[in-house]
């Protein structure tokens, strides 16, 4: 009888069992050591000035007009002319200073993405119309992630000679003048188009999961049309929509790809993520407290958004009433004006939002794309380069290996942490639950900076030390970063699987004499294997396209750099060819499509979800 008071308190089971302790302590210590402590290491730097604790750097940032600027500077739109004398309105946005710019951009992106995501989700969840399957398939395309190239195509779309002007100015004559979107406005557009599918997926799931009887009861009491939507449908779906919106807010805040692509306009550089990134790259080897302080500000904003939504959603966990009975989805035919909106407004909008992915593929096979609407000339040169150039191939192999290694760790972390939190109720349970999900709220660039301070301090002059310019090997650091950053995707999937397995199935096994290990491996793992697989694939795909850590720490030694670091180099250098980056983008898209198809075939799930709650 190994009765342990500690085990009962911490783990919620009075019998001390090594496997249970491991399930709690391994993920807990892992996340503390490789996420919390690095962030704290950065905190220590940010709060010190002249060897003492000080708010100096925060004060200096928040009082500098470079970071916070009221009233804002610059004109929202400027009138210029093309070489041929046509009027062009250049829209760039206005400058509130770096910190406020980031907030404004993230807020606008969240608003746009939520609007688009919710509208598409609603019509897909509630209307039956011709071509709905086409919508369904097409809506899946913007989910495909191609760092940098995606934003690059969007930038081309909104050039004065781009697709938008071609259609609305040259063809349809709707615009009375040409427009060009650049700077912060460009970043907003690029991010909104990239991230709206996240809201779409969350909102769609929310609409689908509303118990139809709740709406039927409202109708039965006389509510209909927009009133029904406003009073019943929307409030019930709001927690899901808000969760998606918060993710978009955080992703926008931390995004580096769009600012890097739009950096030709200095205004696009005035964002926190870009500032941390560029100051890090140009002040290489310097442990700058200013970067640390800026990272802390960004982290605080992201974490606040995250905690806010967690609180809100947990307060509004509506238990759906339905017990048994038929779950008849509420799908109706749109009326004439609704159909008109679907085909005249939403369909073109949808096609615009998949143009980036189309553009990436076209670009990968084209000779050049300068000031034309579409890329010009056909060539397989860049795809060949990607496949056969040993340098490029090395980056691909690096990424594959790092991602695979990270996934092994992620699976172990997800299974142990989910097992501990779903099966036991000790005081460590809520701690571990939060730790597993918190990486979503920590911007990648903050992880990168945290690791920079952490590893340079703990392992100086070893291959783990990022300031050890010629000997640094980022492999280990990148695998750790991927395993932390992409853990929530897999952990959520495994946790969901565990919740579907009734605990009595395990109890029956132990009751019949099986030990904990035998019960977990013989009963539990076979029953949740599909969830583990689905989660692992999702984590793998998003590890392959990981940007923030890859292009900072990962690019310190190009010998061991991942794909994204190489793509960034191409996009940032004037000599680089965007086509090669696009070819790599096509490769990433291919990997993503294959994984999603594989997951769908094997687990029979329709979507791979990105969510928060």
């Amino acid at each position: 009888m190994k009765v342990s008071k500690w085990s009962e308190k911490l783990f919620g089971t009075p019998l001390f069992e090594p496997l249970v302790s491991f399930s709690y302590l391994f993920p807990l210590l892992y996340i503390v050591v490789f996420l919390i402590i690095p962030v704290l290491a950065m905190l220590a730097v940010a709060f010190s000035h002249g060897g003492h604790f000080s708010l100096y750097w925060f004060k200096s940032i928040l009082t500098s007009s470079y970071y916070v600027q009221f009233p804002p500077q610059g004109d929202f739109a400027v009138r210029t002319a093309t070489a041929t004398g046509e009027t062009v309105y250049l829209i760039r946005g206005i400058d509130f200073g770096v910190v406020i710019n980031s907030l404004v951009v993230a807020a606008l992106v969240t608003l746009l993405a939520s609007l688009m995501g919710t509208i598409f989700a609603f019509i897909m969840a509630r209307y039956e119309f011709r071509g709905k399957n086409f919508f369904r398939i097409v809506l899946f395309i913007p989910l495909l992630v191609t760092p940098f190239v995606n934003a690059y195509v969007i930038k081309k779309m909104f050039l004065d000679t781009g697709l938008i002007n071609y259609i609305f100015y040259e063809l349809l004559h709707i615009l009375p003048f040409r427009i060009k979107i650049d700077g912060l406005a460009g970043v907003v557009l690029a991010q909104a188009m990239t991230y709206y599918p996240i809201v779409y997926l969350n909102a769609y799931a929310s609409f689908i999961n509303i118990d139809p009887t709740l709406e039927e009861q409202a109708e039965n009491l006389g509510s209909k049309g927009f009133h029904l939507f406003r009073t019943v449908t929307f409030p019930l779906a709001l927690p899901g929509i808000a969760a998606g919106a918060t993710l978009v807010f955080i992703f926008s805040l931390e995004d580096l790809a769009a600012p890097i692509v739009f950096q030709g306009d200095p205004l696009a550089k005035k964002l926190m993520s870009y500032q941390i990134f560029s100051k890090f790259l140009y002040g290489l080897g310097e442990r700058s407290p200013e970067i640390a302080a800026l990272s802390i500000i960004m982290l605080t904003l992201a974490v606040l958004a995250f905690l806010g939504i967690r609180k809100y959603v947990s307060l509004r966990q509506y238990a759906m009433l339905s017990k048994g009975g038929r779950w008849k989805p509420r799908v109706s035919k749109p009326r004439a004006w609704q159909a008109a909106i679907i085909y005249v407004v939403l369909l073109p909008l949808l096609l615009f939002t998949i143009f980036p992915q189309i553009g990436v593929v076209l670009l990968a096979f084209s000779k050049q794309w300068s000031v034309t609407v579409m890329p010009q000339g056909f060539t397989t040169e860049y795809v060949k380069q990607m496949l056969f150039n040993p340098d490029v191939r090395r980056y691909i192999i690096n990424s594959l290996m790092y991602s695979a290694a990270a996934v092994v760790l992620i699976v172990l972390l997800s299974v142990t942490s989910s097992y501990a939190t779903s099966r036991f109720k000790g005081i460590l349970t809520p701690v571990l639950e939060s730790l597993v999900i918190i990486p979503i709220a920590v911007p990648g660039i903050v992880v990168a900076m945290g690791y920079f301070y952490f590893f340079s301090q703990i392992f100086p002059n070893t291959p783990l030390d990022p300031t050890n310019i010629f000997n640094f090997n980022p492999a280990f650091v990148l695998i750790l970063a991927y395993s932390i950053r992409r853990l929530p995707f897999s952990a959520r999937s495994v946790y969901a699987g565990l919740q579907q397995v009734h605990v009595s199935l395990e109890e029956a096994s132990m009751n019949l004499g099986a030990g904990r290990w035998k019960t977990v491996t013989g009963i539990l793992l076979p029953l949740i294997s599909l969830n583990v697989f689905g989660g692992a694939m999702l984590s793998f795909v998003y590890s392959m396209s990981e940007t923030s850590v890859g292009i900072t720490l990962g690019s310190l030694n190009m010998q061991y750099a991942p794909i994204t670091a190489f793509m960034k180099d191409i996009m940032m250098s004037a000599a680089g060819s965007a086509q090669l980056a696009a070819a790599l983008g096509v490769l990433l898209i291919t990997v993503q499509i294959l994984s999603i198809v594989l997951v769908n075939i094997i687990t029979k799930q329709r979507y791979a979800f990105i969510g928060l709650t």
Binding site: M1, S504, L512, G515
Partner: protein, 353 residues
């Protein structure tokens, strides 16, 4: 076969006290039932005996061995779960053989035992099916086979019939009784259904909000309930608030409405009491030495194999039950009626609820 003793078992979940100090003694080879409404702590008691939960206080003995903190896998008290807990990724054979494989029995012996268990529950030929391909009753029998095949010291059944339809429930009830007699094992049975408990048990413990109210044979529990709760939980009965107005040793006179009932047996100190009378013990025709209650008819309800007459005695409703049509001839709603009750059939218990 094992004898089970529980000593002062206390269990709390957060703020709620689920068990407030339970003492039980389950004898060798007996079918013992924990009976009570939902939330009374019967399932918690069962899980603690199975080693799936652990008490905050108190001790559990199997024969003379203390097992309080022995893990479920080492305890040998095998539970049949309310939802059967059949592993959906294993066939019927693999489900049943699981416990035997854990015990590392030779393959031939496993085959022999699984076959024997399947015969016992009358499911020969179902070895290769998966649980989802079975009906509820069949699943339940697989769950029982899986438990008995390891020859448990103690078999625990948690509301095993609650997911079955009425007809199947009766059938399985006698099956369980048959298997228990055949194997002679000690069985602890949990249910909220008093009829099921009476039909199947050697002895019953009636539980209420974390305490044991009474332990006894079905007959004792039904006919000599010790508390108002037990009396009212065991089937439809008349529970009439009254008060003691006179005492002579253990004989008392009690009063309700304007009726005085003399010479009833009662020993408790409290004067606030209830009178408990089973409806079927009330006669509608005169009998000797009976207490006579005169009132008027409120309702006559026809149930098929019996008829109930609801009488109003002042503000008090009392139900009488008869199987004779003759008894109710001449009765009509609002008309007069007389109930005759033998004094031995009137129980006086301290008021509790």
């Amino acid at each position: 076969m094992v004898e089970v003793k529980l000593e002062n078992i206390v269990k709390t979940f957060g703020e709620t006290v689920a068990l407030k100090g339970i003492d039980l003694h389950i004898k060798h080879g007996e079918l013992f039932t924990l009976l009570g409404p939902s939330g009374c702590g019967k399932s918690t008691t069962l899980r603690i005996i199975a080693g799936l939960d652990f008490p905050d206080k108190g001790r559990i003995f199997f024969d003379d061995q203390e097992v309080t903190y022995l893990s479920s896998s080492e305890r040998g008290a095998v539970l049949v779960f309310q939802n059967y807990a059949l592993w959906p990724h294993m066939t019927v054979y693999d489900n049943i053989a699981y416990g035997l494989k854990i015990r590392k029995l030779p393959k031939e012996e496993i085959e022999r035992k699984v076959k024997w268990a399947l015969q016992l529950v009358k499911l020969e030929g179902f070895e290769d099916r998966y649980p989802t391909q079975l009906s509820g009753g069949q699943q339940q029998r697989v769950a029982i086979a899986r438990a008995i095949v390891v020859e448990p010291k103690l078999l625990l059944l948690d509301e095993p019939l609650s997911n079955l339809d009425a007809k199947l429930r009766l059938e399985m009830r006698s099956e369980i009784r048959r298997i228990q007699r055949e194997l002679g094992i000690t069985v602890l049975y949990v249910t909220h259904d008093q009829e099921e408990a009476m039909a199947i048990s050697d002895r019953i413990a009636v539980m209420n909000v974390g305490t044991v109210e009474q332990v006894g044979t079905p007959r004792e529990i039904y006919e000599k309930p010790k508390t108002e709760f037990v009396a009212s939980f065991m089937g439809k009965t008349n529970v009439i608030p009254a008060k003691v107005v006179e005492r002579h040793g253990d004989k008392v006179t009690v009063e309700f409405e304007h009726f005085r009932l003399e010479g009833l047996t009662y020993t408790d100190k409290s004067d606030k009491v209830v009178i408990v009378i089973r409806p079927e013990r009330i006669s509608l025709h005169p009998i000797e030495n009976a207490v006579k209650l005169e009132g008027k008819v409120d309702l006559i309800e026809y149930y098929g194999f019996f008829i109930e007459v609801v009488g109003m005695f002042g503000e008090t409703r009392i139900i009488a039950r008869t199987i004779s049509d003759k008894d109710v001839m001449g009765l009509r709603p609002q008309g007069p009626v007389t109930f005759y009750i033998n004094k031995d059939d009137i129980l006086v218990l301290p008021k509790q609820l």
